[in-house]
């Protein structure tokens, strides 16, 4: 049974139709009543959505290309509407909330207003100045990133990345991901061009900021598998403690062996009869003990 049959519709890329079909089937295949049927239906729904998104891509691609040009694509048209909504944040929804406890705040009305007004200011500032503030930040940050990635030595100095700390602009999720990609791209270019090597502490710093390791798939989507691999592999592995310990252990066992053999030779030269037997037993038991200990 194809997933279209499970959903009970013909093949389509209309997301709304898929959702409608899923919703109506879901009401007779409830997760708590028919777990298996539900898993089956849900898998079909996911595949249908994926298919729809995949096939709808060509048009969306053009759109997103436009978006990429300006940092705040929807600002121009929606700004006016958004601003009006912001001015009266909750008045419209309040009647729907009849009978519901409306959020009280800590203090009196006047203070609530002050609190709310301040938040609106932040939101407004972020919107209105978006193009200006974020674009300035973009220009500044990208030029400093270019500086930091001008050569291997600078890139591998932790201090040259200091400017990324405490940046308000990096709180913005969209901006942050764009900056993240920009830096990764610069590093990838450098590593492809020169001898590949990225210092671990620098990578760790950037990773803590942009969660690169965690979002490898996003990077791969953007840069391709080979590039991401090249960068990740260029980070030298930490010299792990146990490599040295293993070496030390081998030296130690050799030394112990030598001492024991020396002891045997001395005993052999003095008394040939019982002491030989005794010492062999003794040595053997010590040897077993030591090797067991070391193996752990």
């Amino acid at each position: 049974m194809s997933y279209w049959q499970t959903l009970g519709i013909d093949k389509t890329i209309d997301l709304a139709a898929i959702k409608r079909a899923y919703a109506s089937k879901l009401k007779i295949t409830r997760p708590d009543e028919d777990p298996e049927g539900f898993q089956h239906l849900h898998a079909a729904y996911k595949q249908a959505v994926q298919n729809a998104k995949y096939n709808a891509r060509p048009d969306q691609f053009a759109e997103s290309a436009d978006e990429a040009l300006s940092l705040n694509p929807k600002a121009t048209d929606d700004e006016q509407d958004a601003a009006t909504v912001l001015m009266q944040p909750y008045s419209e929804v309040s009647h729907i909330m009849d009978g519901l406890p409306i959020a009280p705040s800590y203090h009196g009305e006047a203070e609530v207003d002050a609190y709310q007004r301040e938040l609106i200011e932040i939101a407004d500032a972020d919107r209105a100045e978006n193009s200006i503030f974020l674009q300035c930040q973009w220009l500044e940050l990208t030029s400093r990133i270019d500086e930091a990635t001008c050569d291997m030595a600078t890139m591998n100095t932790l201090a040259s990345w200091d400017f990324l700390n405490g940046r308000d602009a990096l709180l913005d999720l969209q901006f942050k991901s764009e900056i993240s990609h920009y830096i990764f791209g610069r590093i990838a270019d450098l590593i492809n061009a020169v001898r590949p090597f990225l210092k671990r502490e620098v990578f760790d710093f950037l990773d803590s900021l942009f969660l690169w390791r965690d979002r490898r798939d996003l990077l791969e989507k953007e840069f391709g598998h080979a590039t991401v691999d090249a960068v990740m592999l260029s980070i030298p592995a930490i010299r792990k403690g146990h490599f040295r310990w293993r070496y030390l252990r081998r030296v130690l066992t050799t030394v112990l062996k030598l001492i024991l053999f020396g002891y045997i030779t001395i005993l052999l030269s003095k008394n040939f009869s019982i002491s030989v037997l005794f010492s062999i037993v003794l040595i053997y038991s010590i040897w077993v003990l030591i090797s067991e200990r070391l193996r752990r």
Partner: protein, 567 residues
């Protein structure tokens, strides 16, 4: 039979039922919707719960406990009078109090309930919550994730708005993030993430550390009473800093010589590490769902701690928009639990509502780590159920023996995202016997089933013998045997609760005692004489007279409190 929807919170708890097409909140004996999750013991060895106990945190710190939700699913226990209590038992006491409130309000016995838990609660914590319900004499019909509960309230009351919503739930002790989509009465959770140890209480702790650092007061030198009072003042300051630029605390304790001033900017600076921890689960959720901030129609705030300005401004900056918080963030989760209770009752008006949820973390099993010769890394983690899989789900994987002639095979169950099991949460183990054979010849089938409550069941089948093992997970931290459960139940049954009729009067006395502790000089004498007068009236046991006296005392206390006794 009515099912009760309960929000068992770190700081406050609340409950509601589904009635006439909506979730109705149930007031407690003091006519408030919120019952502080605080348990205390009075002089006669009787149990006090809620507001009364909260007031006594200052006057009787050794006999009062709060913030115990943090210890759910652990062995942690605390002394209260002569008895020792685990977090599960304390939660059971709070649940019992809520249950009695509901029974009084509805006029019928309650035996079934839906309890909300943080989405990121692990298996042990969920089991402990369920057990607490049993201890309180409630049959737990469903554990619902807190952000999911909140999403249901927003979804049902703003039905016409189809779209994607990001629910951020910062409570007293936990932080949850859930991405939810609504369409055609379907409430679908796409992805969840969170931080089990991040909440309003952590912000308070940071502020307290800052206080000790700047004033030079040594924490160890303070008596429990002083410490409790200081924390109360700091808590008030934490709330106030959201609406004011600067808060001053003069001389909270004797050892403090100069007034302690904190500005909004300073507060923002000291909570920066906590705000950083807020960002991580949000980014992870968006990433897991494969969407950008643009795709989200609204960011919804839930939980009392989201009132903090520092938190709200961070969210506003992250999403370039104002977050929505139309319904009281303290009550929305319990209302959601009430809706879930209505769904469980199969109410006609919820007929077409369907809720789907996900498992917020990866569940897997420990396997041999071949490359680990030194034994430092430990076993590897083999995921069986991936995070954000839609639930209920059941997945099977095959495992085989690794040594020649091994007869025993341990299935160690872990939860987490790390490649190495030592960085993940150990949930329990299952031991199975297999016939002697060469390595790799014997195989077993391990099946993980994760239900709508977020509880995990493990089934193992040995292929060659056909023998099956089921869910006998032992050794989980905080796990109790049948015997221990019986013992706990017996212990809780023995406890005496305050007679309900007197609850209101007791609350007033507790409040007066609390005021007495905080006041000085003249005011202190005033409170003291007013209190003794009230107690004399109470002894005469004339209900009318007591009622009158109570309202008088209440007025006195109100005036005193509004005289900015609490800075």
């Amino acid at each position: 039979m009515t099912i009760l929807g309960i929000d068992l919170g770190t700081t406050n708890s609340a409950c509601s039922v589904w009635h006439e097409g909506k979730a109705v909140l149930i007031p407690n004996q003091l006519n408030a919707f919120l019952t502080p999750s605080v348990v205390g013991l009075d002089e006669r060895g009787e149990i006090l719960i809620g507001e009364v106990a909260k007031h006594r945190l200052i006057s009787h710190p050794g006999k009062t406990v709060s913030v115990f939700k943090r210890y759910m699913g652990t062995d942690f226990s605390v002394d209260l009078g002569k008895r020792r209590f685990t977090a599960t038992e304390l939660s059971a006491l709070v649940l019992r109090s809520l249950k009695e409130d509901a029974e009084t309000y509805l006029g019928e016995p309650i035996t079934r309930a839906v309890i909300s838990v943080p989405a990121y609660f692990n298996d042990a914590q969920r089991k402990a919550t369920k057990l607490a319900g049993e201890f309180a004499g409630l049959n737990i019909e469903r554990l619902i994730n807190e952000p999911t509960a909140a999403a249901m309230v927003y979804g049902l009351h703003e039905r016409h708005n189809a779209g994607q919503y990001l629910i951020l739930d910062l409570g007293g002790g936990t932080f949850d993030v859930s991405l939810v989509e609504y369409f055609d009465s379907v409430i679908e959770v796409h992805a969840s993430s969170g931080d089990n140890r991040l909440g309003g209480e952590d912000f308070l702790q940071v502020l307290a550390d800052y206080y000790f650092e700047t004033t030079g007061v040594a924490k160890k030198s303070l008596s429990p009473i002083e410490l409790q009072r200081l924390y109360e003042l700091l808590e008030a300051a934490k709330c106030k800093i959201s609406s004011e630029r600067e808060v001053v605390i003069d001389r909270a304790v004797k050892a403090q010589n100069h007034p302690f001033t904190i500005t909004r900017d300073e507060f923002d600076r000291i909570v920066q590490p906590l705000l950083h921890r807020v960002q991580l689960p949000i980014e992870r959720t968006l990433r897991d769902a494969g969407i950008t901030p643009h795709d989200i129609d609204e960011v919804v705030l839930v939980g009392g701690a989201t009132r903090m300005f520092a938190f709200r401004s961070l969210i506003t900056r992250m999403f370039r928009r104002l977050p929505a918080c139309n319904i009281d963030p303290d009550l929305v989760v319990s209302m959601g639990a009430g809706i879930q209770a209505g769904l469980k009752e199969k109410h006609a008006d919820l007929d077409d509502v369907v809720l789907t949820d996900v498992c917020p973390y990866t569940l897997g099993v420990e396997i041999l780590n071949d490359g680990d010769s030194s034994g430092k890394q430990g076993g590897l983690f083999l995921p069986i159920i991936e995070r954000n899989s839609v639930v209920p789900i059941s997945v099977e994987r095959s495992l085989c023996t690794v040594r020649d002639y091994q007869t025993n095979l341990n299935v160690n169950v872990y939860q987490g995202e790390s490649r190495l099991v030592k960085n993940n949460v150990f949930l329990g183990k299952l031991s199975v016997t297999v016939p002697r054979a060469r390595a790799g010849a014997e195989t077993i089938k391990v099946r993980y089933s994760y239900d709508m409550n977020g509880l995990l069941e493990v089934d193992v089948e040995v292929n060659s013998t056909g023998k099956t093992y089921h869910a006998t997970i032992v050794n989980a931290p905080g796990d109790l045997s049948e015997k221990e459960i019986k013992k706990s139940k017996a212990k809780l049954a023995q406890l005496k609760f305050h007679p309900r009729e007197q609850a209101e009067n007791r609350a007033i006395v507790a409040r007066a005692e609390h005021l007495y502790e905080c006041a000085l000089g003249e005011q202190r004498d005033y409170v003291s004489s007013a209190l003794s007068q009230f107690e004399r009236v109470m002894e005469r046991q004339n209900p009318l007279e007591i009622k009158k006296a109570a309202s008088q005392l209440n007025q006195i206390l109100n005036t005193l409190e509004s005289d900015s006794l609490f800075t």
